[in-house]
């Protein structure tokens, strides 16, 4: 095969070859615990940790809003689990809701929260409660600023909120020390714009990596107090609470995939430059 033909092929590698190599790069690290990853806790994650850490145990609950659907579960559920481990291990109460419009976030929350709570022997409606979902996120956020019980008259399991001991002192955002929104859409931003600005609620954001860059202006202006960004953010939080989970495990795959993509880009560019030089 002529060199020029080789260069042309290298510039136009078949998609199927790229996809096959990518598949191996993603799955391989799960079986062999390689490559090694070093995780340093960033300032954004440290700030988020400090906000949650400052909540007194057995007092007013941290609100966790599951605003993502199953498509983003691989990236955001490790984050949710890390935060829940942090809360339940310290006795911080948790109030879970979901503002993911189709209710799929509620399905995820109804699985994740009880499962992690059970590991620490935390009681439903005393140490944690899950109020269910509301379809219109902005309206629900504004309503909760006035009256929680009006927005969620019953919880996800059908219990009237008036009968939930954890909800007894909770009227509106004044009694909530902070909210962490786990979102894959602009809903994460709405928490800062509506409850954050209007009611002074402290907002933490756990977002997919794509949206993390969008939320930085809010963090820099202080409207958001901490950010967990993507799978790396989950891995950093796991490191901070000293509990390894899916976030850290996924970072190995992320490393191999990143380097694989860089390798393909380099190959393509070398072939491109060589073919240009040869005219």
């Amino acid at each position: 095969m002529q060199f020029q033909e080789i260069l042309r092929l290298l510039q136009n590698i078949d998609r199927r070859i790229i996809y096959s190599v990518l598949f191996v790069a993603v799955t391989f690290p799960f079986y062999i615990d390689w490559p090694p990853v070093r995780i340093e806790v960033s300032r954004e994650v440290e700030d988020a940790y400090n906000v949650i850490e400052s909540i007194p145990p057995h007092s007013n609950p941290l609100m966790i809003s599951f605003d993502y659907d199953p498509a983003s579960a691989a990236e955001l559920t490790p984050m949710a689990e890390a935060v829940l481990h942090h809360c339940f291990s310290r006795g911080i109460r948790v109030l879970a809701i979901s503002l993911q419009y189709s209710g799929l976030g509620a399905g995820i929350a109804s699985d994740v929260v009880p499962r992690i709570a059970a590991e620490y022997g935390r009681k439903q409606n005393v140490d944690w409660a899950f109020l269910g979902f509301q379809p219109n996120a902005v309206i629900a956020m504004l309503q909760m600023g006035e009256d929680f019980k009006k927005t969620f008259p019953i919880d996800y399991y059908g219990t009237p909120v008036n009968e939930i001991p954890l909800m007894e002192p909770i009227q509106n955002y004044d009694q909530i020390p902070a909210v962490i929104t786990l979102a894959s859409t602009a809903v994460g931003e709405y928490w800062a714009v509506y409850p954050g600005s209007r009611y002074g609620l402290k907002v933490l954001a756990g977002l997919t990596a794509v949206y993390t860059a969008d939320i930085q202006p809010f963090y820099q202006s202080g409207q958001i107090s901490g950010i967990l960004g993507g799978l790396k953010g989950a891995a950093e939080y796991e490191k901070r609470i000293d509990k390894i989970g899916d976030g850290t495990a996924g970072m190995r795959s992320q490393k191999t995939v990143h380097y694989m993509i860089i390798l393909f880009i380099v190959i393509g560019n070398i072939a491109y430059l060589l073919s240009r030089r040869r005219g």
Binding site: R15, P56, P57, H58, S59, N60, D69, A71, S72, S102, E146, D147, P165, E168, P169, Q171, N172, D174, Q175, S184, T185, A186, G196, S197, R198, Y199, G200, T208, V210, Y211, A213, D214
Partner: protein, 406 residues
């Protein structure tokens, strides 16, 4: 012994048992525990006059969660001095020494009074001092939004002024937007190749401004396609947007003079699940092999799936979205990308209607005002840091959007 002395002796003997016959708990007098003494009742600021903010501290004899108190109960007397009724109960075991509550659904300007009853473990209670009358006051302006009001009024005035100027015949310049100019080229290419044009109006609802902008472009594009007697496919994700797109395309074909070429099956609703919709549209791209893909509207994670599949079938791709996070994917995978507000300008750019052009220019002039304010703010903040001067902080305070209320 005289009968009266016998009666008195019996009464005294029975006295310790008197409380057992009383169904209600007794107020302790004198109280063995100090009552709540710092009950505070204030008007909630910046509201419709329907709420009062109430707060109080624990009784001094009740250390947090470990004292003889079971709960605190807030009582309220309504307008006209009605009887006190319990409105809220607070468990004493909660952490912290301060309790707060917002009493809602009150009547503006009417007097209310409150006191706090401290319930003890032995069933007794102690009442605190009454506070009131306090009336919730209705406010008529959010005083913390004055700067927002000024800028909003300025914006509306600029837009209306420019619309009027445009209607009076003033020439308004709009720079070239390559992506919008390419739409004609793309539609022409499709017609030459005998292939349909695929138009994706985004995944959002009719309430989204990007969807409204996309529908504007759809009307113009559908008219061009109708005049070329070509075909347009419009898969929809939202069930409310779907009939609107049907109507828009049908009217376009009618106005172009080819109502018989309109195919209702080409404008269809798929599903409102994000990735199921993306999969369906990808399937359409692979089967129908459109000559051009127009991806205009609000998109989320499925943007790259759509753009890459479109690139793989060899279609010319023009994408436009206001979702900033999806722009990099469109830029890498599409031939032309319409960024952010260029999408909103499309209706004015393509149709050249005077009122739309005027509003676009008004928006641009307001952007110039924003730039000036940003420069002033940055200079003031920088000088404030260098010179440690209070006057420069005044600029910061003037431009800041405050929270609390509304």
């Amino acid at each position: 012994m005289r009968p009266c002395r016998i009666a008195a002796t019996i009464s005294i003997a029975l006295l310790p048992f008197a409380s057992l016959t009383t169904p209600e708990a007794q107020e302790l007098n004198p109280p063995s525990l100090p009552p709540v003494s710092d009950l505070s009742v204030e008007d909630k600021p910046l509201d419709a006059g329907e709420a009062l903010k109430i707060s109080f501290s624990r009784s001094p004899g009740d250390p947090a969660g470990h004292g003889p108190v079971t709960r605190y109960e807030l009582f309220r007397s309504g307008p006209g001095g009605t009887e006190f009724v319990a409105v809220k109960s607070f468990q004493a075991q909660q952490a912290g020494n301060r309790f707060s509550y917002e009493d809602l659904n009150l009547r503006p300007g009417r007097d209310y009074a409150y006191f706090v009853r401290t319930h003890l473990q032995n069933g007794a209670y102690v009442d605190g001092a009454r506070v009131g009358p306090v009336a919730p006051i209705r406010q008529w302006f959010f005083t913390n939004k004055f700067n927002t009001l000024i800028t909003t009024a300025l914006f509306i005035a600029l837009v209306l002024f420019m619309i009027r100027a445009a209607k009076q015949g003033r020439e308004l310049f709009i720079r070239k937007i390559a992506g919008l100019d390419a739409i004609d080229e793309a539609v022409g290419r499709c017609t030459e190749m005998g292939k349909p044009t695929l138009y994706v109006p985004g995944i959002s609802t009719i309430a989204d401004v990007a969807t409204i902008a996309s529908l504007n472009i759809l009307g113009q594009v559908a008219k061009r396609i109708a005049s070329y007697q070509s075909r347009i496919l419009v898969p929809n994700r939202d069930p409310i947007v779907f009939p609107v797109t049907q109507d828009v395309v049908k009217l376009a074909f009618t106005e172009a003079g080819y109502p018989h070429n309109y195919r209702p099956d080409d404008i269809y609703f798929v599903t409102n699940d994000q990735f199921a919709y993306a999969a369906a549209v990808c399937g359409t791209m692979v089967r129908e092999r459109p000559g051009a893909n127009l991806l205009l509207g609000m998109f989320a994670a499925e943007s790259l799936v759509l753009a890459e599949t479109g690139a793989s079938v060899g279609a010319i791709q023009i994408a436009g979205t206001d979702a900033i996070s999806q722009l990099p994917f469109f830029v890498t995978a599409c031939d032309y990308t319409i960024i952010g507000e260029e999408l909103y300008a499309a209706s004015a750019y393509i149709g050249r209607e005077t009122s739309l052009l005027g509003s676009l220019k008004g928006q641009d002039y307001f952007k110039a005002v924003c730039i000036v304010l940003i420069v002033i703010g940055v200079l003031a903040m920088t000088l404030g840091v260098i010179l440690e001067g209070a006057p420069f902080n005044f600029v910061k305070e003037m431009l800041r959007v405050r929270s609390t209320g509304g």
